[in-house]
Amino acid sequence: MSMQAEVIKQIKFGIFSQDQIKKLSVAKLTVPDTYNEDGYPIDGGLLDQRLGVIDPGLVCKTCGGRAKTCPGHFGHIELVRPVIHSEFAKIINMLLQATCQKCHRILLNNEQIGIFKEAMSKEIESEVAAGDLASDKHAEQAMLKKLKSVKKCPHCQTVQEKLKFSMPTYFYLGERRLKPDEIRDMLAKINDDDLTLIGVDPRTSRPEALVLNALLVPPVDVRPSITLETGERSEDDLTHKLVDIMRINQRLEQNINAGAPQIIIDDLWELLQYHVTTYFNNETSGIPPARHRSGRALKTIAQRLKGKEGRFRYNLSGKRVNYSARTVISVDPAIDIDEVGVPSAIAEKLTVPFYVTEWNLEAAKKLLERNEYPMVLNVVALDGKRKRILDTNKEELIKELKPGYILERQLRDGDIALFNRQPSLHRISIMAHRVKVLPGKTFRITYPATAPYNADFDGDEMNLHIPQTLEAQAEAKYLMAVQNQIFSPRDGAVIIANGWDGVIGTYLLTQDDSYMTKEDAEHLLSTAGIRELPKHSKNGMYSGKSVFSMLLPKGLDFEVPQGNGKFVIKDGELVEGVVDKKMYGEGRSNKLFAAIVMGYGFAALQDFLTKSSRLSYAFTTLFGVTIGVKEYMLTETLAKDKESTLADTQGRVKGLIEQYKSKKLEPLLGLTLRQSLEQTIMVELDLARGKAIQMLNKNTDESNFAMLMANSGARANILNMEQMSMFLGQQATREGGRIKRGYYTNRVVPHIAKNDSSSGAHGFVSNGFVDGLTPIEMIMHAVGGRGTVIQKGLLTQRSGYLQRRLANALQDYYVLHDNSVRDVNNNVIETIYGGDAIDPTKVEFSKQKKE
């Protein structure tokens, strides 16, 4: 590995002068063509062999190199008439604007020049002191603004004519059009001091170079031609464009020499300007893009660099990497949370370096001798050359093997890999897993590990990267391992935990009345990987709580309130409470995990999580959890309750409307009578849903699996159940009020009477999904649903972009050992991180410690 010898302090861009172009050029190109009839590059043509070679076998006429060694050389085209460099037209305009049309001095008197010079030098001084080289130059901008309004040259007293600039390359002085050669002469006469004042460095960029006499032609390596299978040659877009330029250039020359009328010459001149303009940027506004014979717009210089698929974003910021793999992900409840299942086909391709030392030389030889799966694919010798192992050179390689060699062996169980899912929105979108080689073609992860990636298994693909140095492996293992990311860096909430059937199992298992036979207890515990039975049993029956306790670390003490009671673990035994999602699942309410980490470390928590999920899945399977429409059918009592609640609510709403009509309604503070009516009706309708939920709760127990799911926190909540079996209730709009518009202005659908304020007319749905909605109710539901979708879309888009900007702005800041926040230049951002130096991930730990 090499160290950097010099630090780049500054980069300066300049503009090639015509002389520099000619000096740089190895060939003056004159023939507007590529190959002759024999398929051989024409001398002086666009693929002249002096510009470098790309066909294997040919030799470069400039450097003598072959396709692989010749870097390519620039040539040039001499234009018979100069043209404007369109990308600099704005700067040309600025320069013409800033200088006198006769004496070409800057349009400032000597006194003003002095003032601005001083202001600028001061600015440069303070910028250098602050180490800030790229700040806006205030004084310069102020000066340029001033220059626009000058009417008379302070030096030669010439009255300035109106200069007009029209995109992309046209300049007019009064009514007369300025030809490029005139512009060039004007620019050439601006003196160096004035240019410096305007902000152009004349040492690197003289402005007359912005009008082109000679055009630099890039080497063929930049615009390679492709030979199709048919033997037909296809040229690069840039070559096509250059051919166009040369053709027009040649025609222009012939016409001038033949003494053609001025109009014809001007037309051709303009055509030349068009071709040069589109050569630089084929998306220049104001002119039609140059097209290929097929009608496709040509991809010229600017298009190669610009935008998402341009050189910068596609090839430089977004490089492809080796030692990586990508495939579909699927779930495997049998592996550990910090493992990743890697298909054997991938494990056979990816490699990990094995650094040969004098102490592991024997092991290295043994490894190298292998010729099936965990074997060595490549050997990196001392000179850094990588050799592929073949049957023919294996013996030789084993013999020459010595310390300092690197063996690239196939991936195997236990190797460290980085696993990633896009979009990588936060740091836990990339975590380190241990490799587990498995049959099949997909990557496998456990359910709890999906949460930080926001992954599911409906076809998601993920990427795997293998760290290639010991340092990188160690860093990944200790900083990025899955079990170290269980607590959120945002608020310390648990983000990697069981859910769904993983929660419902522990919930059922740890109920007070849950008892099982010895056989069942043995089955469950052995599935979880425990080869012991709980110490206590009652008539040969084991309690669910005692079975669950087998997973808890020995000696754990933990107590938190749960519902109306308590959740108590004493000396590693669950004595009171039920393991539901609040205790054991994702979220801030899970304090159990922090307690385990505090007492026994992350490895213990990982062990608990893995074993308890296996136990939970096994118990869910044993118990049998299922769901059907019958879960949502109402009993007779409930059906009656529903009717009476609805009747009651509707009666009240009617009453309110009566009161409003007879002006007896008490207006609410700050609201009109009409608004008060709306408000009170809304409150009344919302109450109805609450009442329905209460009734549902009272009349349904956990033999109803929908209720069981909601109570354990596995999936859905009681509101979902209520909306299916009882009634949907009030549908909301984005503004928060009841639905009131739709058909003209004062009703939702024409089937409702005008000015009907009743519940049904404004989005109250009194049927549930099981009974089915009336057509009008269905429209109300659709209106509400559409609003929700729109809101969700807007919100995620907005907040996503905000979050991205914030993350990008802050990404390189870090907290130093003294708790101050620094950037890469050691600037202090905050003296104490967050004002209190608190790491949210660890807040819960310290709380658990106190107790």
Binding site: S126, A129, A130, G131, D818, S820, N825, N826, N827, V828, I829, E830, T831, I832, G834, G835, D836
Partner: protein, 76 residues
């Protein structure tokens, strides 16, 4: 009227002495240019009569904990 100089939400600013500034900078292991900046014409800097090059210590209070923040006074 509300005053930018005296508002209760504006934390206490004060100019610190050269020796205090130096020991603070040494404790962070930085030079003055690594500090956040404050303009000389900032209401608080004006109130203190701070000159460019001075260092202002700000007594901030977040979440009930008070701590010190520093700014380097710079010309506009």
């Amino acid at each position: 009227m509300l005053s930018k100089r005296e508002h209760e939400l504006v934390p206490t600013h004060k100019v610190i002495s050269h020796s205090d500034a130096n020991s603070m900078l040494a404790s962070f292991g930085i030079s003055v240019y690594n500090l956040p900046k404050i303009l000389v014409d900032d209401p608080q800097a004006k109130k203190l009569g701070a000159k460019a090059g001075d260092i202002i210590e700000i007594e901030r209070e977040d979440f009930g904990k008070s701590y010190k923040y520093y700014r380097h006074v710079v010309e506009r």
